[in-house]
Symmetry: C2
Subunit: 483 residues, 2 copies
Amino acid sequence: MSKKELTQGITAKKSDDFSEWYTQIIQKAELIEYTDVSGCLVFRPYSYQIWEKIQEFMNTIMKGMGVRNAYFPLLIPEKLLIKEADHVEGFTPEVAWVTHSGDTELKEKLAVRPTSETIMYESYKKWIRSHRDLPLLINQWCNIVRWEFKNPVPFLRTREFLWQEGHNVFATKSEMDTNTRLILESLYEKTQRELLAIPGLLGIKSEKEKFAGADYSISIENYFPSGRAIQGCTSHGLGQNFSKAFDITYIDENEKKQFAWQNSWGFSTRTIGIMIGVHSDDKGLVLPPNVAPTQIVIVPILFEKTKSETLKKCDEIKKMLKGYDVIIDDRDEYKPGYKFNDWELKGVPLRIEVGPKDIEKKQVVMSKRNTGEKVFVKEKDIKKTADKLLVDIQKELLVAAEKQLKNAIVKTESWSDFKKAIKNKKIVFSPWCEDSECEELIKHETGGAKTLNMPFDQKTLKNKKCPKCSKEAKVMCYFGKSY
Amino acid sequence: MSKKELTQGITAKKSDDFSEWYTQIIQKAELIEYTDVSGCLVFRPYSYQIWEKIQEFMNTIMKGMGVRNAYFPLLIPEKLLIKEADHVEGFTPEVAWVTHSGDTELKEKLAVRPTSETIMYESYKKWIRSHRDLPLLINQWCNIVRWEFKNPVPFLRTREFLWQEGHNVFATKSEMDTNTRLILESLYEKTQRELLAIPGLLGIKSEKEKFAGADYSISIENYFPSGRAIQGCTSHGLGQNFSKAFDITYIDENEKKQFAWQNSWGFSTRTIGIMIGVHSDDKGLVLPPNVAPTQIVIVPILFEKTKSETLKKCDEIKKMLKGYDVIIDDRDEYKPGYKFNDWELKGVPLRIEVGPKDIEKKQVVMSKRNTGEKVFVKEKDIKKTADKLLVDIQKELLVAAEKQLKNAIVKTESWSDFKKAIKNKKIVFSPWCEDSECEELIKHETGGAKTLNMPFDQKTLKNKKCPKCSKEAKVMCYFGKSY
């Protein structure tokens, strides 16, 4: 297989065979490479650059919040992992265990971190003495291993993934609650919307679906155009569950010993997959300008006679576009049409074509990746127009994604409509009794629809019934099949 | 133990009990926390911020070299790890093996990466087809596990550490050689000298000490003031050893299939430890301004009557110092003297004292952490003087470290002087026969002195003999006990 064959277009259609389409995009746009270990994938430079942009964006927000980055060990002794009862129950089935070093069996087996509460809080215990040491706000960027046996889907569900996990400690419950929500809204929703142009549904997870060891979890649920929901990111109010298990206490202003209040929160490379699925099309990847590694590609239309003049003009134009990552595709071996396809496949938001006739007319052609729209732009207006078009593209992608999400939601109070909607790959928004047994029945009878979350702002429900059990509904809740 | 006790000064002297001094510094300056797993340590925010500064500095240089960041899986199947014979022999004794997921035994055990050649090159094989795909220049920042049984030393030798590993592929040997050397000089030496103010000895490792699987290794060897040498970082010319084991080939311009030439190169959190050891003193940490998380601390001298005025002045001064990370230590509970000690312990390069008398005189006191030197500075000159002092400190630290290194080296051709020097915790620079058996004897008879490396520029050796075996010397070589 030559390079040329590799980078030819996507042969599957998003609307016909989403799964094949997604698999082709992530490989042909050079985002992912598979390895011999199922569920462990390579983040190629093009996807890793996207992750670096996410890190940069989130680091800036976190720094403003007073959160500091640190790094805790990968390997967690079994005795720490099992300290919090619910936590261990939730995580041990999918823990990868290190049992040997070289040929020697270890005295105690070590978990490859499936999440870092336990290893971090063992240190927190030593660092927190007084109310003056609070709040303690620490984040780490790291790799995580969860040896799931469900079918892996690149980015969305992999056995190893990259994430940030924040672990904050407070003196009071109300500070914890406020911060848990702040993380979801001011860090996660902001990153999803402003950087990645993805809308989501914010709310509280059910008791059954909350994080193992938390008092409650709140989440952003996203829609993936395969027809499933997906938990985008979460923020967990841990209450005092871990502070009691790990003896994290502080002396308050009245010299009394108190258990601390904690939260933990995570955002992973999963979101890259969501972004790919939401925006991309049959031509390939579509990247929001704010997160695209390359915002603008300049494709010269090369003829033997005018080649050097055309390339010189491309250099001039690149210089005008300071502040953007710009590539000039001056490859000799490919025709412009091939290059157009290639950069469309790679999702570069804006293309500028420069040919000898354009140079004569002191103009260029700009083409928007998301809409295919082409405009002639006078040379003197290049920077201004590029600025505007890139802002437009970013906005348009969010608007389109919002429409997509809205269209995916069916609001109903009827059980037959509920089931039909799930079958039609929709998210259902419905009244619910909040009963865990009913939740289990709904899942069973719909072939797997779970509660996603319950919006924070619940309007008073008058005479609403749970469509499944017909008992009085307590909340409005989103349901759907989910990754 | 209260916060106050924790942050009191270092009680050991660097010259008397280096090991205790080092252990106290890394804990009291809040750089490291120990965990229950020997050799697996927490990088607390203060040391992780230093690592982030190193990453930023190196990323900029690498980007300029055309190197792109990526991320490859943590877990390497045994069958990949054993593909290159020398490589497996070097690394398997210290590999941490994942053998189980949950309660289930895996069909094939997985190595927690001790280095990533094998997992990366399995992908490289798929990506490289034509000479047009070369050079391929890829780096990853990641965690590494090597289950060594030597006594762990924080930063210097730990079972888990953080590093970057670069893996480049070229069409020809000469490109590989040039790049392998370029990495050592333009990336590693530059980072050590310009960012961390550490000098080092550049050269070629002996056959015995080279990387397992490489044709040759080149290194920077540093001096650690405990009286030992330490390999700071390495760049390995892998030749075609891995390309042949992993079938990494390309079609050249004459349509012929060729095996590629590769190098790999790594720089780790070890260097943070070297920096701490080299610069710090009996008062605590000393950080070079270019890598210090906080460059300047402003300590107000607070009296009840003038408090608000003094704090206002501190804010004004902070605003003048744009571009620096500045902290105003306005803690009420501590006296200025305590704060001075505290920030000296933390190694902040420049302290500014602001008291009511200074304000009257429109001046401040600036104090350099490295020398203790104090100067009165007129308010209007604050920015200019701070700029100058910080540049001075950076330079002075490098000059002092160069002197330290120079004083640690004994050049000799006599075997008795050689042994005496090693006993006196020196690095020996001596002629050498390059014989591996002789190398082993030297190690044995000196209680552990290894070859460090051999400088690139070797002057012609006339009638020089190897001090150990008295055979004709082929090279000048550095020897020393090493971490």
